[in-house]
């Protein structure tokens, strides 16, 4: 049984596009990446799952139950970390966490302190005095303290320093190993690639690709830049080469296919500089739109 199932979910805000005809499934125990640029509809999709907003058409189920009709019941097993964390400003962190914990049947005290210690959270400060990153840490603890079976993470790493990001990813992996299903939305391809099994790519409200992370990487374009004296653009006229640019004896192009073919070509040259790197997310999107 799929943990999340979206069936032709469509959301318009008046005339403004939210998402259009989004369908996909997330299986139990997987970390599903949901990537797209800002405004693509990532948060809209998550808010529909949490029935904060209602679809214009289509439906969604979580744990096999309609996410609107059974929303409150389903949310007992859902943890949510929004992209921007807002809490009651005048409350102390500890009071807020206890308040949050009071809505769940199980005793969350121990897990709450564990998580707070892990995230190095100062429990006795007021929410309003916290920095953006520290609010995010409160969000992480609050979203996880009731040991949910399903996690919605909406651009979770924004505001966290690299050390905290690493701890956070470790935490998510551990949760996942305990069987927690994770829906991870991000606009940073790198972190999605590091963590996720499968990804959905959303652009302008539509899911344009759903793929296993490995296939995506295999199919992935490489961004190649070669600088060699007397180089000619036609030299790299291979199958799989696109967006070839030539400027001052430097060639840039995207390549999709067996990387060895390019390596051999480069090997025959006397180069002054070579870079082969992952394209940015934007560049990948450009290819999806060709």
């Amino acid at each position: 049984m799929s943990v999340i199932e979206a069936n032709h979910l469509t959301k318009y805000y008046g005339k403004a596009r939210g998402i259009i005809d989004v369908s996909f499934q997330v299986e139990e125990g997987e970390i599903f990446g949901f990537i797209g640029p800002n405004g693509a509809g990532k948060s809209t999709t998550i808010r529909l799952f949490l029935s904060l907003i209602y679809p214009t058409s289509g439906s969604a189920t979580i744990f096999g139950k309609d996410c609107i009709k059974y929303g409150p019941e389903l949310r007992r097993d859902i943890g949510y970390l929004p992209s921007d964390v807002f809490y009651y400003e005048r409350m102390k962190v500890i009071d807020l966490l206890k308040y949050s914990a009071s809505f769940y049947d199980r005793d969350c005290t121990q897990r709450m302190y564990e998580l707070a210690e892990l995230m190095e959270l100062e429990l006795h400060r007021r929410i309003e005095d916290l920095s953006y990153g520290n609010k995010k840490k409160v969000g992480i603890v609050q979203g996880l303290l009731h040991q949910p079976k399903l996690l919605f993470l909406d651009e979770p790493t924004a505001g966290l320093d690299p050390l905290m990001q690493r701890k956070f990813f470790q935490l998510i992996r551990e949760e996942n190993q305990r069987g927690v299903t994770v829906f991870f939305s991000s606009h940073i391809l790198g972190e999605v690639q590091r963590l996720c099994n499968r990804v959905g790519i959303i652009k302008e409200g539509r899911v344009i690709e759903i793929a296993d992370i490995r296939t995506l990487q295999q199919n992935n374009y490489k961004k190649v830049r070669v600088e060699a004296p007397g180089l000619d653009a036609a030299y790299f006229d291979l199958p799989g080469v696109t967006n070839l640019e030539f400027h001052n004896s430097t060639v840039r192009f995207f390549y999709k296919g067996d990387i060895n073919a390019v390596m051999r070509k480069i090997g025959e040259l006397t180069v002054s500089d070579v870079t082969i790197e992952e394209p940015t997310l934007e560049e990948i999107f450009m290819h999806y739109y060709e």
Binding site: L52, Y54, P72, R75, P82, F86, E89, F103
Partner: protein, 264 residues
């Protein structure tokens, strides 16, 4: 229960501020009244004033030189203060979640929207009752000096009951606006504008006999303190009308809040 307790804590400061306003207002009123009390010259001054003006200030029915008369006049001002507080609490307690964007927290917890509205409505109701008790208490304390008769205490009790119903009306309207309005930032100002609008209608209707029908439109005419004094009872027609408004507002609040998108 946890939502109710949290809301009560969060709104305690507001209750204390409104309580202080009511106390200050009553103390100022009483200090003026001490000049009129038992002063026949004051009656002569009032008799010389144009009747329309007295009607507008709701001063026709009362003998301002008695403590009962004084609280008869104060009723209108208490009604305004307490209703404004109720309308603001009602609209704010719902809409602040969206204004402060905390709705993404409070409604992703395992609670139904109805439970949230119920708990918040109760918290606002507790505040209203608290403010009413403060009003009652300060009135009793202020009047004690003039050794009022039993009739006064009955009159004051009826006034408080009438004030409570008016609080409930504007609380319910406020909650409805907080729940229903897409432009949640304006819920409070719309609620208070509506309230002041109906107040001015009530002033208009006392100026002109032809506008008498307005008494059904404006809650400020539902319970006339003059009638409370003369007949020692609330007009049941208007009690019924009040209950209908309260019920409709609350049903509307639950329906719209359950059906609409939350704005984040």
């Amino acid at each position: 229960m946890n939502i109710l307790v949290r809301e009560l804590k969060a709104n305690l400061r507001s209750l204390l501020i409104w309580g202080a306003i009511v106390i200050l207002f009553t103390v100022l009123g009483l200090s003026k009244f001490s000049a009129y009390a038992g002063n026949p010259e004051m009656l002569a001054v009032l008799d010389a004033m144009p009747p329309a003006m007295l009607a507008a200030l709701n001063m026709q029915a009362f003998n301002l030189t008695t403590v009962t008369g004084f609280f008869g006049i104060m009723f209108t001002y208490f009604a305004l203060l307490l209703s404004i507080a109720a309308a603001m609490w009602g609209s704010d307690i719902i809409s602040k979640e969206e204004r402060d964007k905390t709705v993404e927290f409070s409604l992703t917890l395992p609670v139904t929207r109805s439970r949230l509205v119920t708990a918040k409505a109760l918290a606002a109701l507790v505040n209203c009752v608290g403010l009413l008790l403060i009003t009652w208490g300060v009135s009793l304390a202020g009047a004690a000096k003039y050794q009022p008769d039993r009739e006064f205490y009955r009159f004051l009790g009826l006034c408080m009951l009438a004030l409570f119903i008016m609080q409930l009306i504007f609380l319910a309207i406020g909650i409805f606006l907080g729940c229903a309005m897409k432009r949640y930032r304006r819920a409070s100002s719309v609620a208070v504008s509506l309230l002041l609008g109906t107040y001015f209608l009530s002033v208009l209707s006392s100026l002109d006999q032809d506008l008498d029908w307005l008494k059904y439109v404006t809650p400020f005419k539902y319970f006339d303190p003059g009638m409370l004094l003369r007949e020692s009872r609330l007009d049941l027609t208007f009690v019924g009308l009040s209950l209908a408004i309260i019920l409709m507002s609350m049903v509307g609040a639950y329906l719209t809040y359950n059906r609409r998108d939350l704005y984040i």
